[in-house]
């Protein structure tokens, strides 16, 4: 049936994160933004908290899956876990608190989906296993996803980082850039090619562990926004990766699976990024709404009131529209219905709506809105949001994805 009611668990997660965002995250986030990072103690507290709450959904999708599988194995009727939808709801709330924090959260991050989706059982145990003890007080660890290069971003088929087999190792040469958590990660999921002329068929995915000989960190980027999040350059100079770190094993690459590994990641993460964008956009919208409420919506009628009210409402409904298509994309993922088009739709609409929300909110507040001393959050959201229409596929790339689903025989433009 058509239903928009959150489950009690989703409601709980939403409320818990909202409370956290309001009382702990918002008061700290400006400092993180200034100091380009979040203190490990804070992340540690958050991880412990997540452990106590029986996983915060965002941080432990595996845990959620495992418990669903367990209850099924125990003969309980198959219960839909809605892991994607719950993550989407959690992500909006967390980003409402701070977008940067979300990207800093320990865990496999974007590296998780390819390892989970394409790794051998042995690889999954090895690379995902390191995160198990984090919520119980173990060391904080990160995973990362390294695809983009200086010469190839959206055009994934054009990557030039090379790999060649040498005995029991693969030798990697090249550079990866704009990698979230790339420097602090225990491992990076790195995409390379055996031969650029082969296009996608030549792609191989590796799990490159910290400390691998020939692997080093280049520059840490200085960004417009999301400054609490680490964005690194990775350098591979005759980097020797053990053959057992080739994701999925060699036989997997007989077909075009290599490239599909890179792309499959996005069908599940695009709605999640869309939800984060909506969270930031909503933060700005609510800020402007409250500003209008206390400054312009006076007891007497002011001539500008209606114009500003309509502008605000337009922002509100665009965010709401984006939220609905994002929920739909997440619901499809949970139902295991192919959702590439819907995932791209959510990302494209949410990125746009959230940027509009941040721009309009500053404008609605007027000159007052740009004064950093009093309205630092508004100023920060404006800087943070822009990249949400860029990373995980620009708005234009989302339209390419959608176009290919509108015209069956459209190969490329």
């Amino acid at each position: 049936m058509i239903d928009f009611t959150l489950t009690s668990r989703q409601q709980q997660v939403k409320e818990a994160i909202h409370g956290l965002a309001l009382s702990v995250i918002r008061p700290e986030c400006l400092k993180w933004d200034r100091e380009h990072g979040i203190p490990p103690e804070f992340l540690r507290t958050l991880a412990t908290l997540a452990g106590n709450m029986g996983s915060l959904a965002m941080m432990d999708r595996d845990g959620e899956r495992a418990s669903a599988a367990k209850s099924e194995a125990e003969g309980a009727p198959k219960k839909k876990s809605q892991v994607n939808l719950t993550s989407i709801i959690a992500a909006e709330e967390m980003a409402w608190g701070d977008g940067g924090l979300l990207l800093c959260l320990p865990g496999p991050g974007l590296g998780g989906p390819p390892v989970r989706g394409s790794g051998t059982p042995e690889q999954k145990a090895r690379f995902m296993g390191i995160f198990r003890d984090m919520t119980a007080g173990g060391e904080l660890k990160w995973g990362a996803y390294a695809l983009t290069e200086p010469g190839a971003g959206s055009d994934v088929a054009g990557i030039r980082t090379s790999c060649r087999k040498d005995g029991a190792h693969w030798v990697l040469n090249g550079r990866k850039c704009y990698i979230t958590n790339g420097a602090r990660a225990s491992w990076n999921c790195v995409f390379a090619t055996i031969d650029p002329t082969l296009g996608r068929a030549g792609h191989r995915a590796f799990v490159v562990e910290k400390g691998t000989p020939g692997f080093s960190i280049g520059r840490i980027e200085d960004k417009m926004g999301l400054r609490a999040s680490e964005t690194a350059e990775l350098v591979f100079e005759d980097c020797r990766v053990p053959e057992e770190n080739l994701l999925g094993g060699e036989e997997r690459y007989v077909t075009k699976e290599g490239f599909m590994t890179a792309m499959k990641t996005f069908d599940n993460t695009r709605p999640l990024v869309a939800a984060m964008a909506i969270g930031i956009g909503r933060a700005a919208y609510e800020y402007a709404r409250d500003f209008v409420k206390s400054n312009y919506a006076l007891a007497r009628h002011t001539a500008r009131y209606s114009a500003i009210a309509e502008r605000l409402a337009r922002v509100g409904r665009q965010l709401d529209a984006a939220r609905m298509v994002t929920w739909r994309a997440g619901w499809m993922a949970d139902e295991e219905i192919p959702n590439a088009k819907e995932a791209s739709t959510s990302k494209a609409l949410a990125g746009q709506a959230a940027i509009r929300a941040c721009i309009e909110s500053i404008e609605i507040c007027g000159a007052e809105g740009t004064i950093a001393r009093d309205h630092q959050l508004l100023e920060k959201w404006f800087r943070d949001i822009k990249v949400y229409d860029i990373f995980e596929g620009t708005g234009q790339i989302q339209r390419v994805v959608i176009s290919k689903r509108l015209f069956a025989d459209l190969k490329s433009f």
């Binding site: 049936m1 058509i2 809605q82 209008v292 409420k293 009210a309 605000l312 509100g316 409904r317 176009s403």
Partner: protein
């Protein structure tokens, strides 16, 4: 639990309505030329139960709720956007009576629409007026109370199906000093002395729908035929507009999807420079944007309809509804506009349905509530202001709409 899938029952209804709607698309130029739907089509619509989907069971309707109604209205409009307005049945009149009337009024005035001859009946709502009063806020049509009887005088405009309706809900000023908060609603039968139906207008789009007006010259209405609106007349009034406009928004989704589908197909077959025009980025991206419009509009309409069916707090349901109305009506217009644009010169010719859909989209945007009014409603809720009918409902003072 969040879910985006109609029930099996709803799917069955959708399918049967969709196959009916297909026959409408094929004949839509005929309906346009005749400026009406023929009896056989209206009888089929009545047999499918299309007029009474959301009307409560207690009042003789199917009581299936707004979600089901929205699903079916989208399908009907996909065939022909005029159809939902012009099939007959209680329409906006039904929503007004259910929201503003008491149960016995609802039973008495809506039951006839459920009968075998229900297809031949129309109801109408006389809300709009051509000119605003310069002297005071509110309507120029007045209702004066005299010993258990109300006397209605004035002229109503922008009335959907005015010349077809056997029953009207007429809105008039009951308290002149109270402005837009001083309105009353009255049930009036066609043929009541003093009531004259004005000539039908010709309009930009939705040609098969009749748009007109009525003139009231001392029409007498018994106190028992006044719709009191329960405890709070203004709240009931806004609820009526919101629910009615939500149905119009569902029609907007159907129109948007029709324009999109026809255009996508055209762009796949029409070739230029050696390939289908849809394979050019400028064309494909435009279509991608419209595809997003259709999906987002539909999701918003579903959520709004579900909010009423699930009995959320009224302010939440109203907020969701205003988002759906404003977004869907604008999306329909963008889809209609781009449909003609991507057809190029051919789109301007009446050989193709898209020019009709574009005209219909603009006309639809001016039915029930405009996007601007829906935005005002959302803003009032979000800013914690009392909802003022003069601010959130269409009128000669702000922007008129056909009701």
């Amino acid at each position: 639990m969040i879910a985006f899938e109609p029930t099996d029952d709803q799917k069955l209804m959708q399918e049967s309505v969709a196959s009916f709607a297909k026959t409408l698309r094929a004949r839509s130029r005929e309906f346009e030329r005749d400026r009406a739907f023929p009896d056989d089509v209206r009888k089929t619509a009545h047999e499918l139960g299309l007029g009474m989907v959301a009307v409560p069971e207690a009042l003789g309707g199917a009581g299936l709720g707004l979600t089901t109604a929205a699903l079916l209205e989208e399908e009907v409009a996909y065939g022909d956007p005029s159809a939902g307005f012009a099939f007959g049945g209680p329409g906006a009149f039904g929503t007004a009576v259910s929201e503003l009337g008491n149960e016995s009024q609802g039973k008495a005035w809506l039951a006839p629409f459920a009968g075998a001859d229900g297809w031949s009946r129309f109801g109408a709502v006389a809300w709009g007026e051509r000119r605003a009063s310069a002297a005071r806020a509110g309507m120029t049509t007045t209702a004066t109370h005299r010993m258990g009887t109300w006397e209605l005088t004035g002229e109503k405009a922008y009335v959907v199906n005015a010349d077809r309706a056997s029953n009207f809900v007429v809105f008039a000023q009951t308290q002149e000093s109270a402005g837009w908060r001083g309105l009353g609603a009255f049930l009036v039968k066609k043929g009541t002395p003093g009531l004259r139906v004005l000539d039908r207008e010709t309009t930009l789009g939705l040609d098969a729908v009749s748009f007109g007006g009525i003139k009231l010259d001392g029409v007498e209405v018994d106190e028992s035929d006044r719709l009191a609106g329960g405890d709070d007349f203004n709240a009931a009034l806004v609820r009526f507009f919101a629910k009615h406009a939500l149905i119009v928004a569902a029609r907007g989704v159907g129109l948007a999807r029709a324009a999109f589908d026809v255009t996508r197909e055209y762009c796949e077959t029409r070739r230029a420079f050696g390939k289908p025009i849809g394979h050019f980025q400028a064309v494909a991206f435009t279509l991608a944007d419209r595809s997003m419009d259709v999906d987002a509009a539909r999701a918003l309409v579903w959520r709004a309809a579900h909010s009423w069916d699930a009995k959320l707090a009224e302010n939440h349901a109203l907020l969701h509804t205003s988002h759906a109305i404003a977004f869907a009506l604008e999306a329909a217009m963008r889809c209609g506009d781009d449909a003609v644009q991507l057809h190029g010169g051919a789109g301007f010719m009446r050989d193709y349905v898209v020019e009709k859909l574009m005209r219909d989209a603009k006309q639809l945007q001016l039915c029930a509530m405009t996007s601007a009014h829906a935005d005002q409603l959302a803003a009032s809720i979000e800013l914690g202001r009392a909802i003022d009918p003069g601010e959130v409902l269409p009128s000669a003072e702000s922007q008129s709409a056909f009701v």
